[in-house]
Amino acid sequence: MDLIDKIFNTVNNLPTLPTVYSTLSEAIEDPNTNTERLAQIISSDQVSSFKILRVANSPFYGFHGRIDTISQAILYLGFNEVRNIVFALSVINFFSKDKLLLHFRPVDFWAHSIGVGIATRMIGSAAGEKKLENYFLAGIFHDIGKLLFFEYAHKEYASVLELLESKQLRIKDAEVEIFGVDHARVGQMLAEKWKLPESIQDAIFYHHTGVVRNQSNNLVASVHLGNIVARIMELGYAGDNLIPEPNYKIWETIKIPNGAFTNMRKSLKEDFELTVRLMLVE
């Protein structure tokens, strides 16, 4: 079995997602479910619900400490966004955070991912997008394929990290040299297996190009730019420290007002530090 098959098999054999997420997803699909029922499912895990409330009160959602109960979180953020937070917290716990591979640490990886999540949402908002649901989650998961390589092809991933250092490559190009595919493809496979919305699958698969099958897409363009901004701001560590060039095509559709990046810099840093503490440390 070659390396690509090994990775694809690994993804296929990964367990389904934690029970609270699966139960929640089923309940959301059920037309008879109400807010109380969903709140009850989430609240069944007290540790999770405490964390969910703290994330829901993060400044980038704009409710600043006014959400006291899971029912309120559902009311203000919507079913899907609360489910996204549950999901993000579940996946962060799903993977080990203690391993180290050369200079790559999962904690730095997650910090980068959270930074991209927050930046993606801020960029979407700056571009005038009204439906910001999924922006945070798409940003958090855009690089999830790297973690699969890291966890399940540890030795080969060391070669990737060595290669990118010696040749000053972007990590995606070093992955293609070693595995034949990059983390965007492997991450999209996992998102498909975990039945994430198609918009998030696209954001994972196309985050390097910023466009979907040559069509404009605000969510994908925002993740593409969110990744660049998080690298500029040195939020966490993505495996290499290069700042990618934006795909020029995205400027045809996503309209960012003058000064938006300059203006978001301070709040992005503050929100990042707070959210990393909430999601990774406390």
């Binding site: 660049i228 901004v229 690298r231 500029i232 701001m233 040195e234 420290n241 290069l242 700042i243 060039e245 934006p246 020029y248 400027w251 960012i256 003058n258 000064g259 990046f261 300059t262 203006n263 810099r265 301070k266």
Partner: protein
């Protein structure tokens, strides 16, 4: 570039108000200076800068804001050299130039 000992801050061009002075020259993508250090900014510069596609710039300040930073010319040049190792492309429009300025600001803060 900034004179030694002069405090500066990064602002968007819409924040320009009369009396502000430029702390870092504004250059185009070919490195040519469009506005030099010490230029006294006026409202007319907003239009001019927009026309050139510039979205942010460093102005001198009195040092009362927590965001303010102090870098001399030599330091700024060193930061640009350091940034060139990570930022391997040339900005092609105003918004990309803003990304570059943001990266330069972070590089200065993190390394000097």
């Amino acid at each position: 570039m900034i004179k030694e000992g002069v405090m500066s801050k990064l602002i968007g061009i819409d924040e320009i108000s009369g009396g502000m002075e430029l702390a870092v020259p504004v250059k185009n993508k070919f490195g040519q200076i469009l506005l030099s250090v010490d230029t006294k900014l006026e409202d007319k510069h907003k239009k001019l800068l927009k026309m050139w596609g510039v979205q942010s710039l460093y102005v001198k300040s009195d040092g009362n804001s927590e965001e303010e930073i102090q870098y001399d010319e030599k330091t700024t040049v060193e930061a640009e050299v350091l940034l060139q190792k990570r930022f391997l492309w040339k900005p092609r429009n105003a918004i990309e130039e803003e990304l570059y300025q943001m990266a330069l600001g972070v590089t200065l803060e993190q390394n000097f």
